[in-house]
């Protein structure tokens, strides 16, 4: 996912923000783009139905519905609920009257304030919009209260607002928001600085239980995803993609395809051969009947085994420095007690439940798409560039995404442009591009494969005196528009994050990177660099604790004296997990703590050894510190989900390539966890008044190392390769 910008620790924040603004063509910076004016103005928009269009984020209709316009993509992470909670809080609305809807693509109004362009990622929704959405709610409230005061000829200060009703106690008068909407629309739009936000002690929704989700329709079949879009005269397209990255169509024969009932047309596009049909099954039959000869001259013909073997060679050589405290090289040269581990991580697919898809229609007026769109401004720009139109001629209807985990924020707008390439050849008809599961699994844009090596030595007190970490792998940002802004001095920050900012206090600390180009498309994958750095650093520190003869929790705490929030989650997770208390025979605990996206998470995994030597993860105790907990149940859900998402690569998942082709194709061979793999998960939230930070990704990094460390408690051996498939304890 795209990254948060606001990390105090990150010296890249300014350049990231600067880039995103530039890439987006957005003009404004971090100002609150609320369409609340600096000075009070007359009249908000009054629609003909007597609706209050209070600002870019809040509409109130006479039927008493409050619509909150959500600028971020709802992909399961709960942004329809979290952002609406903030509006409802300051509006003093009744939660039941709130509905959420996706914003249109309009970066002037709906940009991510951390990026300067419209998009979702880097666990940034709550973090960037916390104040913005509260101001939106407070602004609408002020207009409603102003209208009541005017109608009843009473001072504003004598009015109370509660659960969507405005009351004047002395006269006993009251009115609902809906009843006041029309009059409120005649009120001046308040100036931002005239609005007073609540003191946290007054919160009725923020931090409270019983604030259910607003992404409704998911338990009755009515929620609409891209796959469910229907348009008049819509055609369904499936594409035959090259079986190797970099291969091209040499020639093709579509005669069999054209005989299939329901097939409308066959068109060649830059990414393959598309079959257009009246329905999905006909499109698939037609696609599968194509006879294509591929030109492999430019294609990748190697294997992931060769790639990793090369990485293992490189990892023993010095790389480009990402961090250099003290003098690690000399310190390592002086020790005769070097402790080393080499780690290996495979490519990973996102494997969203909803395979990639997009509905597109190209007409003379421009282009309209329907998509679980995660990066509206970038997609607008990319579509406009290939069609030779202006970005504002691209209309994006954002719908629910059936998962993303980063995939729908493709820096090259891959599947979106594929849909548009087909639609521009479809005589103005809307086209729904549907990828099969096999298309999706083999399309690339994987979490890159990496090899790490960590070399360390301990002082007489058992604490590490030196830590040298080398990371080898592809750059996610290389070759994208992000490269020139976010890759500094040869360091792609997404390759080393979580390692280059290691919190443990070690006097000689060096992190080096080897960036290796490969023709395998790669992309951010839920928690990005932390997917691998969280594992290597937390397994290594556990190994060092063991070498020092120290308790793994106490050892970490001793090295985290400058990091109270790391300590807080570590201590809470340990306490709630009963760390140090005896376990039944055959049960083992492991711990990990990791910060990502400015959120701190510690997990204790409890593993059971079975008679046949296999193991299962039985229980995970998780503590999270994400600042102000806006919606505790959504936070718990994201920790549960983040842990579950991390369990798959911990235990089962890997993408391999042979003879240039992705070996896996579907869920039978790209394995992911199922309910029988899912442990009991207990989530504990650290009470905090710090600025809220994201929860979509930070639950994922600690689970794999916590499991590996639990296995080490059983075996004395620290596993260094993921997945842990086939490990016996």
């Amino acid at each position: 996912m795209l990254h948060r910008i606001q990390s105090r620790a990150s010296n890249l924040k300014t350049s990231r923000r600067g880039f995103l603004k530039l890439a987006a063509g957005a003009s404004a910076g971090l100002s609150l783009a609320l369409h609340l004016p600096a000075q009070a103005q007359r009249s908000a928009a009054l629609s003909s139905q007597g609706e209050l269009d209070a600002n870019a984020f809040v509409r109130i209709s006479p039927d008493n519905t409050v619509t909150v316009v959500i600028k971020h993509l709802e992909m399961g992470q709960g942004t329809f609920t979290g952002l609406a909670t903030l509006v409802a809080e300051e509006l003093d609305a009744d939660w039941a009257q709130i509905r959420s809807e996706h914003a249109p693509a309009d970066s002037a109004r709906y940009k991510n304030l951390h990026w300067g362009s419209q998009g979702t990622g880097g666990s940034s929704a709550i973090a960037n919009a916390f104040t913005q959405m509260r101001i939106a709610g407070a602004g609408a409230r002020a207009m409603l209260v102003g209208a009541a005061a005017q109608q009843w000829q009473v001072p504003v200060k004598h009015l109370e607002v509660s659960k969507g009703v405005i009351r004047h106690a002395a006269s006993g008068r009251s009115a609902t928001f809906g009843e006041l909407a029309g009059a409120a629309a005649q009120q001046p739009v308040p100036a931002q600085d005239s609005l007073k936000l609540k003191d946290p002690a007054q919160f009725i929704y923020i931090g409270k239980a019983g604030v259910p989700r607003k992404d409704v329709g998911k338990t009755d079949g009515s929620a609409i995803f891209t796959q469910d879009i229907k348009r008049p005269e819509m055609q369904v397209a499936m594409v035959a993609h090259p079986p190797r990255f970099g291969a091209r169509v040499a020639s093709f024969d579509d005669s069999a395809t054209r005989t299939i009932k329901g097939v409308i047309n066959v068109v060649q596009i830059p990414t393959g051969i598309a079959v257009l049909a009246r329905d999905t099954w006909s499109a698939k039959q037609g696609r599968d009947a194509l006879k294509i000869t591929w030109d492999n001259h430019q294609a990748f013909q190697g294997s992931s085994r060769e790639i990793l073997a090369d990485y293992h060679q490189r990892v023993s050589q010095p790389g480009t420095r990402a961090r250099n405290d003290g003098d690690a090289v000399t310190a390592l040269a002086r020790t005769d007690q070097r402790i080393e581990a080499t780690f290996e991580f495979p490519y990973l697919a996102h494997a969203t439940m909803e395979p990639m898809n997009c509905v597109a229609q190209v007409s003379e007026a421009g282009c309209e798409i329907w998509n679980g769109d995660q990066v509206q401004t970038m997609d607008q720009g990319a579509i406009a560039a290939i069609l030779g139109i202006k970005p504002e001629q691209v209309t994006i209807n954002t719908v629910f995404a059936g998962g993303s985990f980063g995939r729908r924020a493709n820096p090259k707008s891959d599947y979106v442009l594929e849909a548009v390439e087909i639609a521009r050849r479809a005589e103005g008809k809307p086209v729904k591009l549907v990828w099969s599961r096999e298309d999706d699994t083999r399309a690339g844009y994987f979490r890159p494969a990496y090899v790490h090596k960590i070399s360390a030595a301990l002082g007489e007190d058992g604490l590490p005196t030196v830590w040298q970490q080398r990371i080898v792998g592809q750059s996610i940002l290389a070759g994208t528009a992000f490269e020139s802004f976010l890759v500094k001095n040869g360091i792609d920050a997404t390759s080393v994050e979580g390692a280059s900012n290691l919190a443990y206090q070690i006097p000689n600390l060096q992190v080096e990177l080897h960036t290796v180009n490969q023709p395998i498309p790669v992309q951010w994958w839920r928690s990005v660099g932390h997917t691998h750095t969280g594992f290597s650093t937390e397994v290594m520190i556990d190994k060092l604790a063991h070498a020092a003869g120290k308790d793994p929790v106490e050892y970490r705490l001793a090295l985290l004296q400058q990091h109270p929030r790391h300590r807080g989650v570590l201590q809470l997770a340990a306490e709630k997990a009963g760390w140090g208390k005896p376990l039944p025979q055959g049960r083992f605990r492991g711990v990990a703590v990791h910060e990502s996206f400015n959120t701190f998470v510690a997990q204790v995994a409890e593993v059971a050894r079975h008679n046949d030597g296999t193991f299962s993860v039985e229980k995970v105790t998780c503590a999270v510190d994400c600042g102000v907990a806006v919606n505790p149940d959504v936070i718990r859900a994201q920790m549960e989900g983040g842990i579950g998402y991390g369990l798959s690569p911990a235990l089962l998942s890997e993408v391999t390539l042979e003879d240039g082709q992705v070996v896996q194709s579907n869920f039978h061979d790209y394995q992911v966890i199922r309910i029988n793999h899912s442990p009991q998960i207990d989530v504990h939230i650290v009470p905090s008044a710090e600025a809220p930070t994201g929860v979509g990704e930070p639950g994922t990094p600690p689970i794999a190392p916590a499991i590996a460390n639990a296995l080490a408690a059983a075996t004395g051996e620290w596993q260094t390769r993921l997945p842990l498939k086939g490990i016996r304890v």
């Binding site: 998911k218 338990t219 009755d220 099954w281 869920f667 966890i673 899912s678």
Partner: protein, 164 residues
């Protein structure tokens, strides 16, 4: 071929080739989109519907195999739930809503159909029974802990309904 199907109590006549998967008949021909496409090879369970009360993967069930038989989709489960909260459908839907199970929600139609089928046959499923009945349904958001709790909650609601 022309086939008659009964879906959610309504009879439909469909013209499609015999091998067309039921999933695409439901989604594309009959335009009921609650049943989802996830894998196409009966590996993920997103397309689960009931055929004469039994859970099946509609992506791998040809139209010819279901002619004249009764099919229930998530839309049918939801209307059954609305009609009677003490029904299995009602208990499942109430539990899913009360426990806020869904995240992205894409797999949940299939999860709920599998859960309803389980509870119809086993009113008190233990963890092993839940694992056996539900392990064909993948959730990439990993809502599994809540799915497990929701099934137990639904079982409690059903048994409370019977005794009251």
């Amino acid at each position: 071929m022309s086939v008659t199907l009964e879906i959610n109590g309504v009879t439909h006549r469909v013209d499609a080739s015999a091998e067309t998967p039921l999933l695409w008949v439901i989604r594309d021909h009959l335009e009921m989109t609650g049943t989802k496409f996830g894998c196409g090879i009966a590996q993920c369970g997103a397309c689960t519907v009931h055929l004469d009360g039994q859970p099946i993967r509609s992506c791998s069930t040809p139209l010819a195999a279901v002619a004249g038989r009764k099919i229930t989709t998530i839309e049918g489960l939801a209307s059954d739930a609305a009609a009677d909260h003490n029904s299995v459908a009602g208990a499942v839907k109430d539990a899913w809503d009360a426990l806020q199970v869904a995240q992205c929600g894409y797999c949940q139609s299939g999860q709920m159909m599998s859960a309803a089928a389980l509870l119809s046959q086993n009113s008190r499923p233990d963890d092993a029974a839940i694992d056996a009945a539900m392990s064909g349904n993948i959730c990439r958001c990993a809502t599994y802990p809540r799915i497990r709790t929701a099934i137990k909650t639904a079982a409690d609601q059903l048994s409370a309904g019977k005794t009251s």
